[in-house]
Symmetry: C2
Subunit: 147 residues, 2 copies
């Protein structure tokens, strides 16, 4: 698991100092919380108090996670890579916590239940997950031209 | 731009040996080509010949790209990081090539026109981009609880 941050961020100091980090994945219905967390810095604001969200406390790394979000990764810092403006932190995933409601019948994470979203920086917008395109390593089966 | 690969892959040797790589982003309509490219190794198969796709030749790095795909990044290798099973190659983007048809009226890449897709490894499936959720650094404006 990797995250890249500028040195000026509050999170940079936390990850470098604590040797670990957590990743809390929000669902579409949590988008306003996730966006708010990106709008303010923990340097000046207690974001948990301000948003009314509750911090969970990892027993594996010294970092909080967001209890309300359905999917959490707890990571031990392995490497810290300088890349120009950003520093990339690479972590080993020590544990994954998922709400039962985002798992499929086989106990696997179901992206259609997690309903994560992602940032499109070009237009400064967020998008949800779209339609199922098909099974990987299978859709391409018929591509090779027959001799 | 970063990509992570196992040492056993043919691409690993190419990137390490040439000091650069290209990334060709397919649209949804190209998914069968993209899947095929992941199903076979360049060690045994000329994937361009087998698929009927045409290689473009970067003038900036010694690597081909896929002419049919709408969006191409050409990257110079900056760092090679060992992470357990995978090696991460970090590249500096030297140029971006995009078809005019995937740009918006301001000349910015429009993700709704590119129509990329992504891999959900848990269920071994591919998904398209979903609905526009809203403007980033704005949706969260009303989150802080008023005192």
């Amino acid at each position: 698991m990797a995250v890249a941050l500028r040195k000026a961020t509050y999170t940079y100091g936390n990850i470098a100092g604590q040797g670990g980090f957590t990743i809390s994945i929000p669902s579409e219905r949590h988008i306003h919380y996730a966006d708010y967390f990106g709008m303010v810095s923990g340097k000046n604001t207690d974001k948990f108090a301000a948003s009314g969200l509750t911090p969970g406390r990892s027993t594996l790394v010294n970092a909080p996670y967001i209890e309300k979000f359905p999917f959490v990764l707890e990571c031990k810092l392995l490497q810290k890579i300088e890349i120009g403006l950003h520093t990339q932190f690479i972590g080993e995933i020590l544990d994954i916590k998922a709400e039962a409601e985002v798992l499929d019948e086989k106990g696997r994470l179901d992206i259609e239940k997690v309903q994560p979203f992602f940032f499109a920086p070009e237009a400064n917008t967020d998008y949800g997950v779209g339609k199922l395109m098909g099974e990987a390593f299978s859709i391409g089966r018929d591509v090779p031209k027959k001799p």
